[in-house]
Amino acid sequence: MDVLVLSRIQFAANISFHILFPTITIALAWLLFYFKVRFDLSQHPVWMRAYRFWVKVFALTFALGVVSGITMSFQFGTNWPGFMETIGNIAGPLLAYEILTAFFLEATMLGIMLFGFNRVPAWAHTSATFLVAFGTSMSAFWILVLNSWMQTPDGFEMREGVAYATDWMAIIFNPSFPYRLSHTLLSSALTVCFLVAGISAYRIYRGDNKKAPNVTLKTALFAAAILAPTQAFVGDLHGLNTLEHQPAKIAAMEGVWHTEKGAPLVLFGLPDEATQSNKFSIEIPTLASLILTHDPAGEIKGLNEFEGAHPPVAPVFFSFRVMVSIGLLMIAIAWWSSITLLRKKRLSALQLKILMSMSFSGWIATLAGWYVTEIGRQPYLVHGVLKTADAVTTIAGENVALTLAAYLSIYCVLLIAYIKTLLNLARKAVDVEEYDLSLPGLPEQKTQGNTATRGAN
């Protein structure tokens, strides 16, 4: 097979697998910091319980994020040498600053956060938790600077086919960066809200009537009820920004083949590159123009204006619909469950089941969103500067096929192991005895009773 196609699949596989874990750790770190601060302020053991359970999930997720991320630092050179050859002067400092200001901070402080509770004073442990959260966010900051710059490059000049920086502030705060950063951080927050809500619901559903899962469920759902609509708003702004700088991507997302005024919103359809049209499409008249230009008669540029330089339509079109549907579902479920919680103090079995089934919905939405923006940037690697095909390696295709097969198989194993372990941690937590208010911080013990009632389980 073609080394370009294989390298693209391999990079997509590596980065898709990798993003699953940082997208959890970025927001989960802040949630843990919140639990820890609540504990420091109130000394109420329920916050420590919440911290203690989720810090284990954090440790596992963080480890997967670290090891899957190392792969990336090798792949830039091995599979995409043209990337650094062309824009190394821009990407280099950004990647270096990520490693220096974020990676070491989070990795070092993680040790204290996980195992240092009895080794350092309380304030130092809380600070370590804060610094881990700060580090994960810094890491997101730098990598999104680079990603956004690849989408909307600015502050540079080309000399003999190589990019040179002319204005670092323009590079860092490039046009799409503020929107992409907010959109990504919010997606991380929502992923964590639904993960925490889902796992807490699973514990409650299995008969865990302790206080901790109820507290975490409430925290996650209320946060989601606020953040999910915010995400829709930020996503809209991000879309408008994309329309300004990468109109071909928007045309692919909306399935607009020909430039038109008063373009309809295609709810669903099958984009067909051969006939340059959507089959079986269900449309709402003029809505796309209204959303994107805030004018029912506004003009939307169609794919016909970007002949030979627009992304493949179908994957962008479908990924976008997957992302938006999950986003809307999140708003609905978060509001419905939050209102029930406020009124009745507890959720119905049906609601618990829905939340359980949505535990990993954030992952799907995040991946779909990244596919929209990354496939939507094609055929460019750096928009308007470097084409993906021009950056690829000269390694033999068979070697890439071999490594791709190896990566894919271990990713499958690890993904299954990760999800099974999360559920196992949740089941173990069900058996833990409720805290004794007079003895905070004692090791957790299993109750005889709870285990007995679960019988053959």
Binding site: G77, P81, G88, N89, I395, N399
Partner: protein, 334 residues
């Protein structure tokens, strides 16, 4: 801001990259070594061994990211040339690092009956990671070419690097554990030390034979006598280390830190020796650091960041090691 010349920057970044690789070899070396020697027949020892590296391994592995990252940003063409030549062993290394990194966390969180499975994964991953690093080093020394002899040498180098990691891992255990496990680590340190010694000796002999540049560095030039101090220091550490290991453990655990320190010095001398052999080349006999370095303005910006941040990294790393000083506790989430 700084305004170094291209020449100076190439040298500065070569030194920074080299320092990161050395720190990686020492720091991740000890936790890989603990993994290599994980005793499959004793669960309590396994728990203690792993507890001794628990708070540190994440940060240790970050030095690899920094080393590869610096190579990527400061010498992009060298990064591409070296890693393309090492594509398959590097992938093996990455997969091994992934498996051992996650095994470490999974073992503590899965059902008890699955724990042993992840212990084996941890050990196998550590061995594979160490071997592939040694293999990559071997191929690099042989000029990034795959012939029968270079592959055989690289395989031998893989075994020697594994032995070196086993040595530093066991000396780490001497420092961080007590009782039977410490005695066991002392025994293992002696065994690994012999392997390691043989390996270093053979690289010292083979490298000048295959690399004209290395031969010149070690036999001609104004600093030959000064350079001779490097292997002498290295072999002196082996001799001293052996004497120390024979006397350990002492009353009140005195001197338990000595073998680790000596092994770290051995690593340092070997590394400086190798670096001198290859200077000014970053891709052996093909590309020098001066030819491969990126644009001045970008390197100046990174250097500015490094000068500010690296002391801070050193400071909080010291805090972490201080917080977990003394013998390893059972690994509990507080």
């Amino acid at each position: 801001m700084f305004d170094f010349s291209h020449h100076q920057l190439a040298l500065i970044f070569a030194a920074l990259t080299a320092l990161s690789i050395l720190l990686y070899a020492i720091l991740d070396g000890y936790d890989l070594g603990v993994g290599i020697c994980l005793p499959l027949n004793n669960e309590a020892w396994r728990d203690t061994s792993i507890a001794s590296i628990g708070p540190f391994w994440d940060a240790n592995e970050t030095w690899l990211v920094l080393a590869v990252g610096l190579l990527l940003v400061a010498f992009p063409s060298a990064h591409s040339a070296i890693l393309k030549a090492l594509y398959l062993p590097a992938t093996l290394l990455l997969i091994a690092l992934i498996m051992r990194g996650v095994a470490f966390d999974f073992r503590a969180k899965v059902k008890p009956e699955h724990k042993f499975r992840w212990d084996i994964t941890f050990k196998a991953g550590s061995i594979l990671a160490a071997f592939s690093q040694g293999f990559m080093l071997g191929i690099y020394i042989m000029g990034l070419e795959y012939t029968l002899w270079s592959t055989l040498f690289a395989g031998f180098s893989g075994i020697c690097v594994s032995a070196a990691y086993a040595l530093i891992g066991n000396t780490w255990l001497i420092l961080k554990t007590s009782g039977d496990l410490q005695l066991h680590a002392i025994k293992r340190s002696k065994q690994a030390g012999v392997f390691c010694f043989v390996g270093i000796l053979s690289v010292c002999l083979i490298n000048p034979l295959v690399n004209a540049n290395a031969f010149e560095v070690w036999t001609q030039g104004p600093f030959v006598y000064l350079y001779a101090a490097i292997p002498l220091l290295c072999f002196a550490m082996f001799a001293l280390g052996y004497l120390v290991l024979r006397r350990l453990p002492l009353e009140k655990d005195e001197g338990a830190w000595l073998p680790f320190l000596m092994t770290a010095i051995i690593f340092m001398t070997c590394f400086v020796g190798l670096a001198l052999s290859f200077y000014p080349y970053v891709v052996p006999n093909a590309l020098t650091i001066y030819e491969a370095a990126s644009a001045e303005s970008s390197l100046n910006i990174i250097f500015f960041g490094a000068i500010v941040v690296v002391p801070i990294i050193a400071a909080y790393t010291a805090v972490a090691y201080y917080a977990f000083r003394g013998k390893a506790d059972a690994l509990r989430y507080y």
